[in-house]
Subunit: 353 residues, 2 copies
């Protein structure tokens, strides 16, 4: 009873009165090479003994595994939770599994995780941390690790085989910023944690671009980015960060009337901070987020935000990864840049007075 030991293919073979090879043949799509009667006997034996092939043995033998890795900053952020969910669906539909890792945007932790994935025999990973450099993964990439970077556009010194899938963050931030500008706002702020990742840098650039096109300069705007480059903020803390930022920003002289937040969690925190000060979102201060998590629509007021179509992006990312795992020859680098969409809800309005 306490036999944690599994049933082996050998035991099944004995029970069915055949050799292990024959059982293996049945299990690996070579059923046509045996009498229907034999086949039934084996199936019955498998069933009766509750046999499950030992994956470690199988993988050791074949070198293959049907698992891919997913590295996200933190599933504590609902955007990544939803992304993970969608990726899992896409993978499951093709018979793959997903191993989820939270990197907290820490390169060392990320490297360690991917090392582990590698020794698990996993040869394909979807990477969502958007770290500027992939150098810490170079040894594994050189050995044949297939990487799909999500939410991080290609960089000049990236490995040649890298696939990048992302929304166009620069355009997204421009959309958000233009929206505020068109509503008449002139004093804007950009709120983010440390600008340590590529996507964040691009969102910031889009913000600045839009300002300049409107004849303003970045100096006219305030940038609040986590109080210093040294501080690292996880995604869960994003909300708290937004809250602090709002309180700090709005008590300055000449406070901003419109705020672009780095993501929805942060934006929701900003909204909270605004209310902490007894001001009203939209009426007094406009806020626009990024991601369009489920809760953006649920908030009061519902959040204006730049949508990332997470289900579609997850599906593309998986399809791309699968292609390269199954045919490493096709491992040319490429980028897919999806145009984001601004979803206007009620957290934005013309500036007061």
């Amino acid at each position: 009873m306490q036999s944690t030991a599994g049933v082996t293919i050998q035991q099944v073979a004995e029970a069915a009165g055949v050799s292990a090879s024959t059982v293996s043949n049945l299990l690996n799509g070579r059923a046509h090479r045996m009498q229907p009667e034999t086949r039934r006997r084996i199936e019955k034996a498998i069933d009766r003994l509750g046999y499950r092939p030992n994956r470690a043995a199988r993988q050791l033998r074949t070198g293959r595994t049907q698992t891919v890795g997913l590295v996200v900053p933190s599933v504590g952020n609902p955007f990544w939770g939803a992304f993970a969910l969608h990726l899992e669906s896409a993978a499951l539909a093709e018979g793959y599994h997903v191993l989820l890792c939270n990197s907290e945007r820490d390169p060392e932790r990320e490297r360690q995780y991917i090392d582990e994935l590698w020794s698990d025999g996993i040869r394909g990973v979807i990477l969502c941390s958007s770290l500027p450099s992939l150098e810490h993964l170079r040894p594994l990439i050189d050995r044949g690790l297939q990487l799909v970077a999500f939410d991080r556009i290609a960089q000049a010194d990236d490995p040649e085989t890298l696939v990048s899938i992302s929304i166009d963050n620069t355009v997204g931030a421009q959309l958000a910023t233009n929206h505020l500008l068109e509503l008449g706002h002139r004093r804007l702020a950009f709120v983010s944690g440390a600008l340590g990742s590529i996507n964040r840098k691009h969102r910031y650039r889009g913000f600045v671009d839009a300002l300049e096109r409107a004849g303003l300069t970045a100096d006219d705007a305030t940038v609040w980015s986590g109080g210093g480059a040294t501080e690292q903020f996880g995604d869960v803390a994003a909300a708290e960060l937004g809250r602090t930022a709002a309180r700090e920003l709005l008590t300055r002289d000449d406070p901003p009337t419109g705020i672009v937040a780095i993501n929805d969690m942060c934006a929701l925190g900003v909204c909270r901070g605004i209310r902490d000060l007894g001001r009203r979102v939209a009426n007094d201060v406009s806020v626009v987020g990024f991601d369009d998590i489920v809760l953006a629509d649920l908030a009061d007021p519902p959040l204006t935000t730049v949508r990332q179509p997470s289900a579609e992006l997850a599906a593309s990312a998986f399809a791309e990864l699968k292609r390269r795992i199954e045919d490493p020859g096709s491992a040319k680098g490429r980028s897919l840049l999806v145009r984001p969409e601004l979803v206007v809800r009620e957290s934005t309005a013309p500036p007061p007075r």
Copy 2:
């Protein structure tokens, strides 16, 4: 370059001029059995070749794996996202990995996932789907699968070895309901998806208990549970469900003034539904949720809710599971029932007039 093949212990051994056994000895804490000089040579070789032990082979040989499974309804719900995060931390600290699976509360999918985990060699799983019956997992449990059920108190016909960890959902719901009662509400509603899981049944029971203690009967209250037992609502849809429920409930004759929602996502949906009708949360209708996700505090108004201390619960769950994996002898069933805490914020107030 394209050699997806990993470096083997054999290659390391050759490079270091020793036998594979010696390398293995070093790797498995038997370093004291060799000269410091030998050790250094091996370490250098490992480093130079970028050797990572092949986990499949190791597992095949030892029968051990440092991975546990986590089955949650859906990481799309931030509560489960946060729980997964906390569990991962707890596991990582002890050198374990977590394999995350979203069951969507589907017993068949759950069984299939756990089957897969079993053939991965995983012998310990934390189960969060709270399904009433564990019969679909019986074959594996009989074979030695160690199970910790989270958010699901023990049932009479559960496997004897099952460990249950949960908050006291009945008490939690009583806390929530009493709070509304004490504020003076008399017409209450309970909003949930299908009451298909144990925890939901208990929350419902706590709701009814509290009503009866106050001299009301369940008939005085409205129960909105997903529009029928046949419908299954995933956790992501919880918010949409709450929204629909609120709109439907509040346009009836004699509408409720206080609503207890099955969880925070649902409660946030209810709040949204209330606003859809042009009413105000708290002032017109009070709402209390369950879980205390990060966003509960960020909402406007901040949500009154019953807190589940997710980090502590995750830590206990992992500790318990680890104990049984490492010493299956101690596999006596037991339950841990944590008293929940009501967090009063601003979504509740005395009824209008």
